[in-house]
């Protein structure tokens, strides 16, 4: 199926949304619940599975839907179809603070591997699949689990990352060591593995865990500075209602400090 060429614009700084311009007849697929606004003339259609090329019959559809469940996406995908006469816009919002990554799959050779749950939207024709981690160590300790999302096609795809985004181009053989959980996406030419931090002392007290994720070139990788789980962890830790303890500055005064700082 031919890809739709879509124009897009990303708005916002730390909490972004992407606006996609659809020519008449063009369509985009969005993760269920990601749509923020759409202009008159755009029709919304929810399909079972990933809405890519025709999947052979019911079984193919079920398989596609099952794959989506494994990657933490919802069973349904929504297709936004421009049935008006002129150009129409539809916007998709990122679900938490971070950056939206716009990837032209054609530039990457047609495939992108990304963290599950990070898909936001794409041009119609991009298919969402799963890639199963073959390396036991990388699956257990790599921070991305055993299942990653695979985007196939040659159109634009939009993926979401937490915090600030880093794009790194790795030369053949170049190795980048990354904190586990910070890898958002990489080209399939990149080798994703783990490496023991090296010293018992660092492993126990360094705060980086036992393993680094290693990315070995050639290819392009996308890293996030703040994985959602880390952000959520800090928020829960700081929220008294969730059983956490707010950690204020000036702890010498303890409870009195809380009284004095005027926050309450």
């Amino acid at each position: 199926m031919a890809m739709d060429v879509i124009d897009y614009e990303i708005f916002g700084n730390e909490m972004q949304y992407v606006e996609i311009e659809l020519d008449p007849g063009e369509a985009a697929i969005g993760e269920a619940g990601a749509m923020m606004m759409m202009q008159d003339g755009i029709n919304m259609d929810t399909v079972f599975g990933d809405g890519a090329a025709q999947q052979g019959g019911l079984f193919g559809k079920l398989l596609g839907a099952g794959k989506r469940l494994l990657t933490g996406e919802s069973l349904f995908t929504t297709i936004f179809h421009n049935e008006g006469v002129g150009k129409r816009r539809v916007a998709f919002a990122a679900p938490y603070p971070g950056k939206i990554i716009a990837v032209n799959l054609a530039e990457l050779g047609g495939t992108l591997l990304c963290q599950k749950d990070s898909f936001l939207c794409a041009a119609r024709g991009v298919s969402l699949g799963i890639a199963f981690q073959q390396k036991l160590g990388a699956g257990l300790f790599g921070g991305e689990g055993f299942i990653m999302q695979k985007l196939d096609g040659d159109g634009m795809a939009f993926v979401h990352a937490g915090g600030t985004l880093a794009v790194k181009d790795l030369a053949p053989g170049e190795v980048l060591r990354v904190d586990t959980g910070c890898v958002v996406a990489f080209q399939p030419s990149v080798d994703f593995d783990i490496q023991y931090v090296g010293k018992i002392k660092s492993a126990l007290f360094g705060g980086e865990g036992l393993f680094f994720a290693t990315l070995r070139g050639p290819g392009r990788v996308w890293l996030q500075s703040l994985p959602l789980s880390r952000l959520a962890n800090r928020i829960v830790m700081a929220a008294p209602a969730a059983g956490g303890r707010s950690r204020e500055e000036g702890s010498l005064l303890g409870g009195f400090g809380n009284l004095l700082d005027g926050d309450d």
Binding site: E107, L108, G109, T111, L113, A131, F132, Q133, Q134, K135, L136, G137, L140, M148, K150, D169, L170, A171, P172, G173, Q187, P188, S189, D191, F192, G217, P218, G219, R220
Partner: protein, 359 residues
């Protein structure tokens, strides 16, 4: 000559690589668009791609390091079969390391599977060998602990039982009990509960409760002695304790296997204590040992099968006892058979009058 789609990463090309076509022409490897020849020596092979089914050819030259990747599994296989002999050595090394990696991966997965299967395995083993395991553990629990367990559940049910411990019937109960439990390592307590169901039960540690309904159903004291002898043997053989151990073990292993912690371990143990259902084997064992104890204490043992006859005849009566003690007739027959095989024992009738005593 074969043409294989590949992706080239080279200094001067886009960092994300560029699609090229790889030609294998006899001994030389050539790329089209941009047209280049691969060096004859110094090419390193490596498995690449997320599924590790692709192949990378990498080499160095003055400009830097180059990598040519064939990610499609089929294309990689085609290339491997067409590679020139200069690369066969590298290919063999690749195959060897691939085998090693596969073996390591299999080992890792097996270890992981074992890790998750162990609790299930233990659960299965426990289910299969529950009786010997529970017996072994029960033997290692001190009597005081057992007694405490029994007392705890007795305290719980006391309010419901309406004890008549100062009645004449309770006195007779204690008298019979004392005769049946002489020389036991347990300190027994016998209680009479004012309830109409024909029932009696034993708690771990030696607390035995008899319902007044049961005593009313008996026609002579020897029948009551038969029931008591049976219940005493449940205590002596630690049936209740074994039941609890079994239940606790199952609950514990179940939680271990499923990770479902905290869904009322204590609650289920208490219900187990309260219902105190014994297996059919346990009942048979208590019958046999009870008969022996009657013989030892010089009480006419025929009271025991006689009482089973009464139970069997009362099949329509409140089924509390019948449900936990099925097939009274069968048990009566087993006891009579056993008695017939023994030499007749002279036993003085208890001859307590009037019977049943005041309850």
């Amino acid at each position: 000559m074969s043409q294989i789609p590949a992706r080239l990463f080279s200094p001067g090309l886009p960092a994300a690589g560029q699609d090229v076509v790889l030609l294998v022409e006899g001994k030389t490897l050539r790329i089209l668009e941009p047209s280049r020849y691969l060096p004859e020596r110094g090419i390193q092979l490596r498995r690449v791609g997320f599924d590790l089914k692709g192949l990378e050819l990498a080499w160095d030259d003055g400009a830097g390091r180059h990598a040519l990747q064939i990610l499609d599994a089929q294309a990689a296989a085609t290339l491997i079969s067409a590679l020139p002999p200069t690369l066969h050595e590298a290919l063999a090394a690749l195959a060897l390391s691939g085998r090693k990696q596969r073996r390591a991966r299999r080992l890792g997965w097996s270890a992981l599977a074992l890790f998750f299967a162990t609790p299930l395995l233990m659960l299965g083993l426990f289910l299969a060998f529950a009786d010997p395991i529970a017996g072994w553990i029960a033997e290692r629990i001190p009597l005081e602990q057992e007694r405490k367990l029994g007392e705890a559940s007795f305290t719980q049910m006391k309010a419901e039982l309406q004890l008549r411990d100062d009645s004449e019937g309770a006195q007779k109960l204690r008298e019979l009990g004392q005769r049946l439990t002489q020389g036991s390592r347990y300190n027994y307590e016998f209680h009479l509960a004012d309830k109409t169901e024909i029932n009696a039960f034993a708690l771990p540690g030696g607390i035995i409760v008899v319902h007044s309904g049961l005593i009313r159903a008996t026609t002579r004291p020897e029948e009551l002695a038969g029931v008591l002898a049976h219940e005493v043997q449940h205590v002596e053989l630690r049936h209740g304790l074994k039941n609890i151990v079994k239940q606790l073990g199952l609950t514990g292993l179940w939680m271990f296997a499923t990770g479902d912690i905290g869904s009322g371990l204590a609650g289920s143990a208490a219900t187990q204590l309260l219902s105190l259902k014994f297996s059919r084997d346990a009942e048979r064992e208590a019958d046999a040992h009870g008969l022996d104890s009657l013989l030892r204490s010089g009480i006419d043992p025929r009271g025991m099968p006689d009482f089973f006859r009464i139970l069997a005849d009362k099949a329509g009566a409140p089924p509390a006892m019948l449900s936990t003690h099925p097939q009274s007739a069968e048990r009566e027959q087993a006891l009579r058979d056993k008695l017939a095989s023994l030499p007749p024992v002279p036993a003085k009738p208890l001859g307590w009058q009037p019977w049943p005593p005041a309850l």
